[in-house]
Structure formats: C-alpha cells, structure tokens
Symmetry: C2
Subunit: 762 residues, 2 copies
C-alpha cells in the first residue's frame, strides 16, 4: 500500500452536522465492536448527539405493531443496542475545562490512519485564561484483541505548569439514536438495557447490564494508565463509573493518559463480566506500543491481499483505500455476525444484515480473504433453521427463505412489499456460496456449510414459482429496486434463480463424491427427482424480453407504466421514497437503483451484448440512484459496455460517496456495501475481471486521467497481482501454482509474470 | 308487508357466544344511535362483554404508527366511540336480584318486531327462594325522535307480593371492543372519552363527556317513569349516574318502568347537553303509546316502498325482511354520516364507511327511498375537499380520491395495498350518482351535490392511468378482491372507470343547460379539452380479455399465477386472510369475493353473454367468499345467466348470513352490505331488473320451491309493484305517471296493471 493512506480533515468544523458526520466517518471498529467518533470532552447539549458504540450482532428485540395486522406480519424485531459509552474524558487545566466550544481552537485536525488502524485528533487550544495545550488523541478498536478499545490521550502544556486532571466516565445510560422523519433509522429513542451490577475495581470500573427482552448481557470495564505521578479516585454511582485522575503538569512535558475500555457480551462469552475483567488485565499487561504493532501487522496482512492503488488520481486512490479500510472494520468475524449496511459506524437500518452483504461485500472478501467469506457463509448456515421457519410462515411447504433484514435470522422487516417479498435474498445467499466455490474450489467447505443452504433455498424457487405456458414464472416478488414492489417475473430475480438452480444441479453432482453428502441428502430429503425439477425450472425460467426496445424489462408490467421525467423532479424531492407515496412511485417507470443492470453484471452470459447495452441506456435514464447500491453497478456495466466516461463518472461518485456525504445520510453510518462496490468497480469494472466455472478472465481498461492502477486477487491457491498502465497489463503470480487466465479473450498460462499489451477497447 | 315480520329466538341460550351474537342481532338503531342488545341485568364478568352504543359518525382519532413509515402513510385514523352505557337495570325482588344465571329460567324469548320497530325480551323466571316473575322488556331506538332510546320494563310478580326495586345505571366509563386476533376489529381496548360534567337533575341524570383527541362532546341523559306509587333516589358519583326506584309489588299486578335515555352529540347540536335535556323532556311529555305509534308509522311508510314478500319459503321471507329492517336501522340520515359495514350494530371496522355503501346499499335506497340516497350523496359532497387532499397526498396533480375507509373523509386505512390502493371507491361514488340520476332524472340535485364529485373523481382516472400501445391503462391499483393487491388493469376498476368517464361526458352535456353549471366549471377549472380526454380514455380503456379461456381476467397477470385448489384447504383455514401471509395469497389465483363477476353484473353491456358465462364459471371455482359481499353477487349473476339452482343456493346463504352467523363474525356486527345484497338479489337477480339510460327492464324468474314473490321499485315519479308467480308477472303502477318498461326484451307501457306471461327462461 502506498504511504499516503491517511485521510484527514483539517480544521474540524464544529457545527452539529459536521460533528455528526465525523461520528460516522471516523468511527473505530474491528468487526466485533464499533465506536462512533464522539469528542471525549463532549459537545453542547443542544447538538443532541448520542455517543454510540455497538457490538456486532448484539441486539434487543422490540414488539412490532401494525395498524392493520395480517397473518405472518413481523411481530417482533431485533435492533442493535447502543452499549455503554466509554468515550467520555473531561480535561481540567486548574479550574478550566477543555472544550472546543470555549476558548480558542488554534489548530485542529482529525485523521484516520488506514495502515496503523487508528484515528488521531490533534488540537492546539488556548483557554479563556490563556493556557495553551497541544492535544493528540489516538483511538483504536483493536484487531488483535477484539473486545478492546483504547483512547491514548496526550496533553502538552505549552505555556504553563500546574494541576491537570482527567475525569473519565463510563456511562451505561445510553439510548439508541433515531430520526422521526427517516424510515431508515430506528423508530424511536430507546433505552434498551437495564443494569445488573456496577463495581469499582482496584484499577477501574466494571458495569454489567442486560437487554430488556432478548435477555443478553454485556459487561464493560474501564481502566486507565496515567504515566507519571498522579492520584486516582474511582467511583460508581447509579450504575455509572467515573475516574478522577489528578497530576501536576510541567510546561513542555507531555502528559499521557491511556483509557482502556473493553466490551464482552454473553453471545460470545459465557461469563462476560469475568471475561471483560480478564480482557482489561490482558490489555494492560502489555505496552501500548505492543498493541499498536499488532494492529499494524494485522492491517499489513489485510492490505497485502486487497490493496488497490490508483496512479494519477490521489483523491480517488485515497477514497478507495478509505472504503476498503471500512470493509475490514465492518465485517463480523464469527458466526454470530455478518455485515450491516452501516457496518459498526451507526445504527442506521437498526444494525440489520441484508442481501448487500452477499452481493456487494462478500465478492470482495471471496477473492481477497476467503476465510472471511467462509465465516459469512457460516453465519447463513447458522440461521438456516430460522430461514426455514420463515418460509413456512409465508406458506411454503418446503425450503428456506432468508429474511430481508435480520440480526439473528428472524425476519424483521415491517413493510413486507419492500421487505419479506424480496425473495432475491435467497439468490444472493446462493450466489455467495457458488462464488466462494468458484474462487476456492473448496468443495469440502461447501459440503460442510454451503450445501444445505444452497438446496433449501433452491427448493423455495420451486415452491414459489409455477409453470405457465411452458415458462417457469416467479410471481409476486420484489426485486432489488424497491420503487416497484410485488411484481411478476422481476428479471433480476428470475435470472438469479435460474443461475441458482443450475448450480444446485451442478453441485449436487460434484458433491456426490463425498460420503457425507448422503447424510445431508437424507437430512433434507433431497431426491434425484427434485434435482430434475431444478433442471427443468432453470431451463424454462422466464426472462422478460421486449422485442421492440430490445431490452429486458425489469418485470412483466414495467414498460406499461407511466414515465416520470427525472429531470423535472425538484432536487429536494430526492430520495423519492421520503417524498412520494409508494402508490405514486410504484405506478411509474422509475428505479431507485440498478436492478436489471445488476443482473446483467453478475450474469452477463444470459443476454446478448446488444440487449445489455440497450438495457443500460434505458434504465440509466430512469434511475434516481436513491440507493447507494446503484452507482457502482452502473459504473461496472458502463465499463463492461466500453462507455469509459460514464464508468469513470459513476465510479467517482460511488467512491467518494461517504467522504463527500453524497447520499446525505452518512451521519447514520457509512455505506459499507457501496464501499465493496468500489473494489468491484475497479476489479470487475475497469479490469474486467470475471470469475466463472471456466476460470478467471480480465479485460482491463484505463480510465482517462489515470496513469495506472494495481490490485490483487486470490484464486484457488494463488494470489495474482494485476497492474494496468497506459501500455500494458502486468500479471504477476505472487504465490501459489501457475494458473490459466484469459485476457481480452485469449488464454494464457500465468507462471510468473505475464505482460500483455493493453487493448484500448475490449 | 306480511304479518309475520317478527324474528324470534326461543329460548335464549346463555353461553358467551350466543349472548355476544344477540348483542348484534337484536341491536336497536335508527341511523343516528345504535344500541347493542346487552341484558339490562348484566352477565357474568368472565363473559367479557362490553355494553356498546354508538352515534353514527361520532368518532375520536388515534395516532397510527407504522413499523416502517413511508411517505403518505396514514398517521391518524378515526374510530367510532362507544358512548355511555344506559342499558343497565338491576331488578331486586326483596333481597334477591334477577339474573338469568341464577335461579331458574322457566321461559325465555327474544324477538325483533320489524313492523313495530322494537325488540322484546320475555322471560319467566323463578328465584332461588321460589319467587316467580314474568318479564317483558321492550326496547326501541326511535325513528321519530332520533336521540331517544327507551327500555320499557314490565314485571309481573306471579306468586308473591312485596318490595321490588330497580337500580338503573348510566355508565360513562366504557371501552371500545377489540379482538387481538382479528384485524377487522379495533386494535385495542380503548377508553376514548373524558368526562366533562355529571349532574343529578330533578328527574334523572345528565352526563357530558368529550373525546380525547377529536374534541367532540356528547351528552346523555337518563330519566325514568315508574307507574304507580314508588320512591326514587338519584345519585351521581365518579361521573356515573344511578337511580334507585322502589315500589311494592302485588301478586299478579304488572309493574312497569320506562327508562328514557337520550344521546346528543356536538357534531349535530351546538349545545348538546342542553339539547339532551330538552330531548328527555320531549320524550316524557308524551305517552309511550304515542312513541310506539310514531315508530310504527315510520316503518309502515318504509315498508310500503321496499317490502319484499316471498311466497313458499317463510324462512327466507323472514330473513329478507330482517335484512331490509337492518338497512333502515343502519343508514345515516344526515350529511355527517353514511352506512358502515356493520351499521350501528357493532364497532367492527371501527365504524368506518367503505365503498359497499355505494355499491350494495345505496342502489336499494335509490329505487325505494331516493331521499336517503340524496343524503348519502350529500355526505360524499361534504367530504370532497378531503378527498382532494387525499389525492394530492398520493401524488396526484388534480382530482379527488375518496378514502378507502373513513368517518369524516380522511383516509384511515393502515395497510394501503388493501386500502388506499382501492381506487375503485371513486367509481363507486360516481356510480351512485349516475344511478341516482337514472332512477330520478333529478338533474338539479346532480348539479347541486353530484357534479363536482363526479368530475373531480373522473379526473383522477386520467391522472392515474396512462396510454400504452393505444390503450388506456390503470396500473398499480387494487380491485374489490383483496386477495390480489397492487395489480395492473383490474377488470372491475377499468370497466367502472370507463363507465364513469362516459357518464362524466354525458352529464357534462346534460348539465350544460343550467347557468349554475358555469360556476362549477369555473370553480374546478373544468374545460372542454378535459372532457375530450375523458372521452378518449373511456373509448380506449383497456379491458383485459383472454382469448383462450374466453373470460375477462381479473387483472393483467391473474391467469399466470398459481392455482390453489379450494377443496383442499382445511375448513379451519378460512377466511384465508387470517391464516395465510398476503404474499402467499397474492401469488395464487384465488378470490376473496366477486370482482370481475361484480363488474359483469353492474356493467353487463360491456361483454358478451358468453364471456360473462365463462367468467362466472371460472371465478366460481376459485372464490372463497371470505367476504360477505360475494354470494349475493354470485346469486345475481347466476340468475342473469339462467343458472337457477346456483342463484337460489347463493341467495339462501346470503340472505341468512347473519341469522345463522354463516360468516362466523356476526358478533362484531351484522353485515349491512350483504343485506342490501339480499334486496338486489331478488330485484336485480331473480326479477332481472335493470336501470339504464334507455329505461328500466325486467326479466323475472322464479326460484324452485317458491310460489311467488313481490316487491316495489320507485322510478322517476312512479312506484311500481311487481308480482311474480309461476304463471305470470304482474306490474302495477301504484303511483305516478305511466312508464315504459321492458319485460323479457319487449317494450310495454305500464299505465295501470300489466300482466305478462312468465318466461321459463330469459
């Protein structure tokens, strides 16, 4: 990775919006815990910011009430819990307290260092009485020790000596954030936990609390190291911990306080309180340097597998690195967790997991870090039973239907036409397994965790669809584009179902060589007859096509709907879902996001070049990109169709979506799936990478203004580095055995390094 | 009317279900107030029955919360209020209290006398200590004095003399009923009012209370007459009134207590408390005989216009009379009220008004009592502004969209796919105006109250639909059959819209003769161009037709959906909406009720005989009749298509639906629309009556087993009596000028009496 992998804001803006924005943008997370960036010293009350921190997959449940309840409607939903706030540190300089809202901020800078895995705030500040300090606050969510979060707080008294103290708090009484005007946030401010215990320990405080309905516990411990001579008073009251640390400052000599905070939950740890106390001890038993080194090492390995470098556009290069960094911050690393659309950077979407994990993020891990991909598949395997119960609830006689939004596997969507009806989630889960197989050929893992999931979800297509005039149809479902719901034969859904069924048949044969497969077949009562049915449905799958326009209609009736000129919609009316009744939206040819275009990307062999081009141009005109999942896909398909200018434009907007808050809601959390999309855009889009049964292939292009770009992909036992420049494409086998690769349609054997002249078009 | 117009249950069953059932079946109402039949002496607490009484259109509002709120979703809904319970009368015989759950019920009988407009309970009862009494309790909701409800309580001490007292209560603290398992009832127990005042008056108690959110007041007053020497103590505590009346009984001498209760609300009365006190005085200023006589006179006139007699099937004859009696009990008689599906017999559907008022009930009033039809049209006229706001909320640039369910005109549906999406409500409102015009030729009233409504609703079709390949399409709407929602080109909706638009054009021309029409045109900015567009859309209206089956598909995609064999669905799974997720239901070819078949009934000229026959047979197989609106229509169309046996069978089930509780939910209220359907079945079904622009026509058939039947219809200035027997059809002009009528396809001039041989088929 290049050295400039630090993203910095300078100076800090102190308005409510900016601080809310930094909360998300500079959060620290490691896939287990996530801490939003709240200023340790606090902000004015009227800003109404809620310091927030989460454990991935740690949830409470809420009763869901419907104005008109119908059978099978969600009656209980899960919601990620805002756990204890351990961020608070007030700094007293004699009788003055540090605040960026008092005195004078002389300098300020906030940055995230993607190589070291820390955020750093540097402030030079003068108090009202004239005391000047330099602050450097380094925060880390440790990849080495997942429950650990540290705040390394350095104060240099520039022009004074005298008493300095820190009041560091440990506050359990936090609420979940909500915005009543936005359905994408939680529905109300919620205090989801009740306290169990609060103790002052020798070197800190320990608080344990329990969720109100899901009955899960979480313990947090806080402890401090203040270097040099000092006094410490630790107290606990009303289940809130507090430490007061007093010392004497000497002009020019830096004082350093380290605040250690750990979180352990009862999902992962039997005795979470005991474990939290152990974790604190463990953290304090080593130096901070040791912890920082481990952090850096972890990330070094990460970047070795997935770093992307862009030459000639530093901003974009940095934006992409920022995005890839968020992916490793977000991704759950055990079977209890997956990847939420906001990662651990906010409780937008209530911490639920959706299909975008499989379609936008997992493809990245599959070809850079397949072990993580395994863990994500394991999560779906763990929740298979609930998916089967969900299918039964919707009236299916067999099969599994993965929930549209969930934490533990139960369907949490409160509006089924744009929730439970999105059956394509099943296709996404299957796609991720097939993809994992294609990238790794790891049939044993497919057998162990993938097969049951793949067949149970394949079955659901049969139970959902029906033959009509010789075609297999999937009626009354919703595709990725939620601006039409409950449609018949959504092209994306049908195409993915076809692919899924075809692969169910192929894998059935491949898995036949394993004895253990017999057990699975018996367990789920899978017969040859059913596999025959899979074949038949796949072969007869109806894929809507319009002769006149030469495009794939998004669904059976899409083209007969009214047109709605996007150019005439006032800017403030976007996103449409916040400003128009669904009836109005559904009645128009308007798309929230890539739908058919996404299908063309992932399943390009199902249609002619011509149809894909026509479709791209048709849908481009009517897509609002109100979803952050859209532009990356439009970029990829533009690249695929040799529309370099469009590909670059869409990529730019996608890559910088959060850094520039282009969607307008980064405050609720960064857009993790779009960040996966950044990687896909470079690798699948510009470099034309494809991962198929017949092998891998490339067809690199170079966006205008770039000098070149570079990335790695893992394939089977190998890692291949790809470098694209104006003149050539260099493929280097970094590790593993030689591989056949196809470049610009020609086959090569990659043994060491392969240099191929770059084509100006594909 | 025949003399046997009394429906009696004997003996009374005392289980919870039966008492709950009687509450609805024997309720007293007059279109303004409705009192469910609760036993005056009370029932065991564990029966959990809530004495209920309502004022038509008197509502409170409730906040509506959605698990996932989307733009324009209903945020506040209206709900009918259970007003003060004035039913309680405890009867003490010395130290014993009368209860049907103690001692011995020797005889019991409950009946509704449809000629006299009262319900009568007669009980012979022996106390545990051996006292025997005969009770006769006559209840009346006065048509003569709408705020008045009376309980005429007669006690005959059969075998004893001694002290007898009555404790009569006036209880404000009542809740609305709910059943958590049924979406068709209110969503929770609700106490909707707060007390304002409670006073003991000279001769009774007066209580005034206000709704919590809608800020409407209602006053109720109670007073008594106890004939003979007695003492009376009146008290009021905690806003509850109570009267204790003591007398001495003599063996064999009947004691008679009359309890007068009045309700006046602030929607109708400026000073509702003062008015209630006046109303009590007014009631007590005359004798009960006078009040009974007025009641009987009112009903005599009613029955003169609408009585139906069936010869040869007394049960059916009585069932139909029962149904027609409920219609006059239910119908609102001012512009604040309409007809709720449960009338005033229960708070099922929360007292809202729906489209069935216009399509099932109003056609009855239009040809028997057009003044009531005017009042119903006036209600829609009153709420036009809200319908325009509702249209705007759904994104329409102009026009009015009547709400799916409402009291005052605001949309109260909490599930829009089976609520707000039912745009056919607009067609129903227009249909009722057109029908009124056809029956009365009263263009002046159409001008006054109908025109604006008709044109504003017509406009909405244009703003909703679009031309596609030369056809005018209405996409993303829901038809009457809620077992598929959000469909394209629902045949019923499109056909009705076509009719509506055609009539908008016709009435535009007809109204042109009035000067006042210019004002209306200006007010709503209606231009010739728009009328042209109406014509064009009507002419091009797409009406789905399937060549292969020769039927009108219910919507564009209905026939491609899965089939679901009704015979294989277990009996306990009906109604399907309570046992299957909507996704499952929507995905199948299954109907809750007549939809295309209803369109064929009301708009028979749009399709060939063959198409209607094929369609009937097709839909008959897949219709569950889970809605009470279904069987009457199937009966009518069966008669229309000469399937006499089916017509009779459907009619029987429809006519006795409530008396036999065939739908299983009569406890929530009787099914008023189906009761309108009973009349339509006889008149439009068996007698083949049609009301069209070219005049009225008949084609009578005689169901097997009947000797004959008789009814009246009003047409323009005339009333025509129709008598059908085995051999002949007799048309008698009871009043008005001679009329051209068409019988079995031939035209006649009806001047006095016309006797035509009955055809065995049409």
């Amino acid at each position: 990775m290049k050295s400039n992998s630090v993203y910095t804001v300078e100076p800090l803006k102190l308005d409510r919006y900016s601080l809310n924005f930094y909360e998300a943008l500079f959060h620290n997370a490691n896939g287990y815990i996530g801490i939003r960036y709240d200023l340790e010293e606090g902000v004015p009350q009227e800003y109404n910011l809620i310091p927030s921190q989460y454990i991935n997959g740690f949830y409470d449940t809420l009763e869901v009430k419907h104005p008109e309840y119908l059978h099978g409607f969600t009656q209980e939903k899960e919601i990620i819990v805002n756990i204890a706030d351990n961020q608070g540190i007030k700094l007293y300089l004699g009788d003055e307290v540090f605040s960026m809202f008092k005195g004078t901020v002389l300098e300020s800078r906030l940055s995230v260092d993607m190589g070291r895995g820390v955020t750093i705030r540097e402030v030079k500040w003068q108090s009202e009485k004239g005391k000047i300090i330099r602050l450097k606050i380094t925060r880390m969510a440790s990849f080495y020790q997942l429950p650990l979060f540290t705040i390394d707080y350095e104060v240099e008294p520039v022009n004074f000596s005298g008493p300095v103290s820190f009041e560091s708090t440990h506050n359990r009484q936090v609420c979940n954030y909500h915005n009543p005007d936005d359905p994408r946030t939680a529905s109300e401010f919620l205090q989801l936990t009740t306290p169990l215990s609060c103790e002052v320990k020798e070197d800190g405080t320990s608080v344990e609390y329990r969720t109100k309905r899901s009955n899960l516990s979480v313990a947090s411990c806080v402890s401090h190291s203040l270097f040099g001579k000092h006094e410490e008073e630790i107290s606990a009251k009303d289940y809130q911990g507090s430490s007061l640390l007093k010392t004497e400052a000497k002009e020019g000599e830096t004082i350093r306080l380290v605040k250690y905070a750990v979180y352990c939950d009862s999902l992962r740890y039997k005795n979470c309180r005991g474990q939290a106390e152990e974790e604190i001890k463990k953290a304090k038993s080593v130096t901070m340097d040791f912890l920082y080194e481990r952090q850096e090492n972890y990330l070094k390995e990460y970047w070795e597998n997935c770093s992307v470098d862009i030459e000639g556009d530093d901003e974009l290069d940095l934006a992409v690195k920022y995005n890839l960094y968020q992916l490793i911050q977000a991704v759950g690393k055990d079977r209890h967790s997956n990847i939420s659309p906001k990662g651990l950077s906010g409780d937008g979407y209530e911490g639920h997991y959706f299909w975008d994990a499989e379609m936008y993020i997992q493809p990245f891990f599959t070809i850079t870090n397949p072990a993580i991909s395994k863990s994500l598949i394991a999560y779906r395997h763990t929740t298979l039973q609930m998916a089967k119960e969900n299918a039964a609830l919707v009236g299916h006689k067999k099969g599994a239907l993965y929930p549209w939004r969930t934490i533990t596997g139960r369907e949490c969507s409160g509006y089924f036409p744009a929730g439970r009806a999105q059956y394509h989630i099943n296709g996404a889960v299957a796609y991720s397994i097939i993809n994992y197989y294609l990238a790794t050929k790891d049939l044993e893992f497919v057998l162990e965790k993938g097969a049951e999931v793949l067949f149970e979800t394949a079955r659901l297509w049969l139970d959902t669809g029906n033959f009509h005039e010789g075609k297999f149809m999937l009626n009354t479902v919703t595709g990725p584009d939620e601006y039409t719901c409950l449609v018949n034969n959504n092209y994306y859904t049908n195409a993915l179902a076809k692919y899924h069924l075809e692969w169910a048949v192929k894998l059935y044969k491949k898995l036949g060589v394993y004895d253990d497969f017999i057990k699975i077949k018996e367990k789920i009562a899978l017969s040859e007859d059913e596999i025959e049915e899979f074949s038949r449905a796949a072969a007869c799958m109806y894929l809507p096509y319009d002769e006149k326009l030469g495009i794939n209609p998004q669904d059976d009736s899409f083209l007969q709907k009214k047109k709605w000129d996007i150019a005439k919609i006032p800017q403030e009316k976007f996103p449409l879902l916040l400003h128009y009744h669904p009836l109005h939206i559904y009645r128009h040819q308007i798309c929230k996001q890539a739908d058919t275009v996404l299908a063309h990307f992932i399943l390009e062999d199902m249609q002619s070049e011509e149809t894909m081009r026509n479709s791209f141009l048709y849908y481009e005109k009517i897509t609002t990109h109100d979803s952050s999942l859209s532009k990356a896909i439009f970029s990829i398909m533009a690249a695929r169709l040799n529309m370099e200018k469009k590909a670059s434009a869409y990529f730019g907007e996608s890559a910088k979506l959060d850094l520039l808050d282009l969607q307008g809601n980064t405050i609720d959390g960064v857009h993790i799936a779009n960040m996966g999309g950044s990687f896909l855009t470079i690798v699948y889009g510009f470099a034309g990478f494809r991962l198929k049964e017949e092998g891998i292939s490339f067809a690199p292009m170079l966006p205008k203004g770039w000098q070149g770009y570079r990335f790695e992909v893992c394939y089977e036992d190998s890692r291949i580095q790809v470098q694209v420049t104006e003149q050539e494409c260099v493929f280097e086998l970094e590790k593993g055995t030689p591989k056949r690769i196809r470049v610009y349609g020609r086959d090569y054997l990659l043994e060491d390094v392969l240099v191929i002249e770059r084509n100006s078009s594909r």
